[in-house]
């Protein structure tokens, strides 16, 4: 087993990995940028080294600096966590060349999965289901129309070199096909210098469901159940759960077997995730593989009872998986809320700043993976994820109740967070019925907030009165820290005990 591991990351996930290492008796090395000196991962690690200025490109993405730290401090392995360098095959390669173990797959597997076309060819050979369509560019409009007829409308035209929605067209009928193809081609030419366009069946309101796999370096690969990740905004996941409300044991087994096939076709090792699109008839199609630990891995940990970071480290150290597929049992239900520094009143725009007050939930069935603390200033330079709040219970309705209770206890002041968004989602009828797809959250946010309407005018009046009394009591009991208004007049001061510092100073002066 390794004696020392460097964590090439920051925030809640660096803290998560540091905790696993401490549990396993492994020393930890943190790295940090200029703005992260006081970050929690630096405070919690055994060693910490500065690697550069705030921009990630000059610090957390600097392969040379990170490997230099690893060499100097004698770290035998590097855990990349998610984001930053975690899916960078060049980094994995550089680690191998430097004689430091990269806790993740081989650079070869990463390269294979990183390229859309090579992954698809490899997977098609292995019999993995794809969204029906052509994997190569269309030779002519006639060919396109024939394929569209065969797979059925609506279809999606996509630029082969594309990304980010450029060169993409949704086509509902044959009449629209030719003009849509023309415009997709010219947009692809303009955007990517390549007019190649291919065709796929359009999946309307798909679900996004993914399957966790683990593979050791001795040829054993297992699946650990799915995660429902359909609740997204701007292609960013917001809430995930395991199991999915629509996946039954048979579908789970079939998805798991396909996921294992995908991993084996890529000679995959360590933890990985296979993402699927699922249509309304519950057909699932391979989307891509994420070659790293996922943000939402805790919901799988809670429903399988396994610790994925422990297992990642053990696999990287050359150990065999300590269990077989038949040993894996999915038990209970887990839901994760991603607490972001975002302002719900300003279109969920990031809200960095100093956390002036932090009250955190605890109690039965609640797990909190957090990178924040009271008094910490959330830097503006990185992803706005602050913490993950995960509720676990024997079934989905109970997990929802637990999370609602925990969210009621959660309070963050000084910055804005999306905590209120989860209160909305968890109380929503469609969410409770498990009616989810990738358009769910945008539809929910287009509606007015029911929490505002649910209070009767009389109740609001009562709470306003309480708020008014509270403001006055704060001013009277804690006048020194009260900035607003001119609350701290003389008579208010006389009601509060004199400052302990002043008393101390006076008594010292008397001696």
């Amino acid at each position: 087993m390794f004696k020392k591991i460097l964590i090439a990351n920051r925030g809640e996930i660096a803290v998560r990995v540091i905790r696993a290492c401490r549990e396993m008796g492994i020393a930890t090395v943190a790295v940090y940028s200029d703005v992260d000196r006081a970050a929690l991962h630096v405070r919690k690690s055994d060693e910490a080294y500065h690697i550069g200025p705030a921009p990630a490109a000059e610090s957390y993405l600097r392969i040379d600096k990170i490997l230099d730290v690893a060499k100097r401090c004698g770290a035998e392995a590097i855990h990349p966590a998610y984001g930053f360098l975690s899916e960078n095959a060049k980094f994995a390669q550089a680690c191998a060349e430097a004689g430091v173990k990269f806790i993740g797959p081989t650079p070869h597997s990463m390269n294979l999965m990183g390229s859309k076309t090579s992954a698809r060819q490899q997977m098609e050979k292995a019999g993995v289901p794809f969204v029906p369509g052509t994997s190569r560019g269309l030779a002519s409009a006639e060919e396109g129309e024939r394929v569209a007829e065969r797979i059925g409308y609506p279809v999606m035209l996509k630029a082969a070199a594309g990304g980010g929605g450029k060169g993409m067209r949704l086509v509902h009928t044959r009449q629209e096909f030719r003009s849509a193809l023309e415009s997709a081609r010219s947009e692809a030419q303009r955007s990517f210098g390549d007019s190649e366009v291919y065709i796929e069946k359009a999946i309307i309101n798909p679900r996004h469901i993914e399957m966790q796999v683990l593979a050791d370096e001795h040829g054993n690969t297992v699946w650990l159940g799915e995660r429902e990740c359909s609740i997204q905004r701007r292609h960013q996941k917001v809430l995930e759960e395991a199991p999915s409300p629509i996946v039954d044991p048979d579908m789970r087994r079939r998805m798991g077997e396909v996921a294992v096939k995908v991993a084996q076709a890529a000679n995959y090792t360590n933890a990985g995730t296979i993402e699927f699109l699922v249509d309304q008839q519950k057909n699932f199609y391979f989307l891509e593989m994420n070659t790293r630990l996922q943000v939402e891995h805790p919901v799988t940990e809670l429903t399988t009872g396994l610790d994925l970071v422990h297992l990642q480290i053990r696999i990287a150290a050359g150990e065999k998986l300590p269990f077989a597929q038949s040993d894996i049992q999915i038990r209970g239900h887990a839901i994760e809320c991603r607490i972001y520094a975002e302002d719900p009143d300003n279109n969920y725009f990031p809200s960095p700043g100093r956390i002036s007050l932090l009250l955190e939930p605890a109690g039965p069935g609640i797990r909190r993976d957090s990178g924040m603390y009271e008094g910490w200033t959330v830097p503006m330079d990185y992803d706005p994820l602050l913490a993950k709040l995960i509720g676990y219970a024997s079934d989905r309705p109970q997990a929802i109740m637990r999370l609602e209770r925990a969210l009621y206890e959660y309070f963050v002041a000084g910055i804005k967070t999306n905590i209120s968004l989860f209160q909305r989602i968890l109380g929503d009828a469609d969410f409770r019925a498990g009616k989810l797809d990738t358009g769910y959250l945008d539809r929910l946010l287009a509606k007015s907030d029911p929490a505002v309407a649910s209070l009767l005018p009389g109740e609001i009046k009562e709470l306003e009165k309480i708020a008014a009394i509270a403001a006055g009591m704060f001013a009277v009991l804690d006048p020194a820290s009260h900035k607003n208004g001119n609350g701290a007049n003389n008579s208010a001061n006389s009601a509060s005990p004199p400052s302990k510092w002043k008393q101390k100073g006076r008594s010292e002066a008397l001696r």
């Binding site: 990031p350 002041a413 007049n489």
Partner: protein, 168 residues
């Protein structure tokens, strides 16, 4: 002590709040109506309030410009004034007339300017783009008018409350 308290953004009529020590607790008069409360501050910015057996945990959130009270999950903007103080009466009314400052809503970096000085803008039109946490946000004009001054410079770091531009 006597305070004037306004609850809720933009107006609402001020309540008269009188607080008097009474035994272990306090006698409060809200617009003349008597309420007995027991109040403890267990930690900074947290108030435990007992009113007729009802227990409330109230959280205080203060920024440079605003004061909020959180009662459960409900947030109330609160303005507390001492009616005997002169200063609190000079509060500027936030009316639509006159110059309006456009301020940075959060710490970030100015990416670019969307309008030039002296150009006419509509209410809701983007004036400056500020970036934080890899997201770009248009800071918009609160009113129709003319951009009198732009103090934001592209590339500069800004803090919440910093004036980016003035629209008149």
């Amino acid at each position: 002590m006597v305070y004037e308290v306004i609850v809720g953004k933009d107006g609402g009529k001020p309540h008269r709040l009188e607080l008097e020590k009474a035994g272990d607790g306090w006698e409060c008069r809200v617009d003349g109506q008597v309420v007995h409360v027991d109040a403890v501050i267990p930690r900074r910015d947290v108030l435990s309030l007992l009113v007729d057996g009802h227990s409330y945990e109230i959280k205080r959130e203060q920024t440079a410009t605003d004061l909020h009270m959180w009662v459960g999950s409900a947030r109330f903007a609160v303005e507390l004034r001492d009616p005997r103080s002169l200063r609190s009466r000079q509060k500027s009314a936030g009316d639509e007339k006159g110059p309006k400052k456009i301020v940075a809503p959060m710490p970030g970096r100015v990416v670019r300017l969307l309008v030039a000085e002296n150009s006419e803008v509509e209410a809701g039109q983007g004036i400056v783009v500020v970036e934080a946490m890899k997201m770009q946000n248009e800071v918009k004009s609160p009113k129709k008018g003319v951009v009198k001054k732009i103090s934001a410079t592209p590339g500069a770091a800004v803090n919440p409350g910093d004036v980016l531009a003035i629209v008149e």
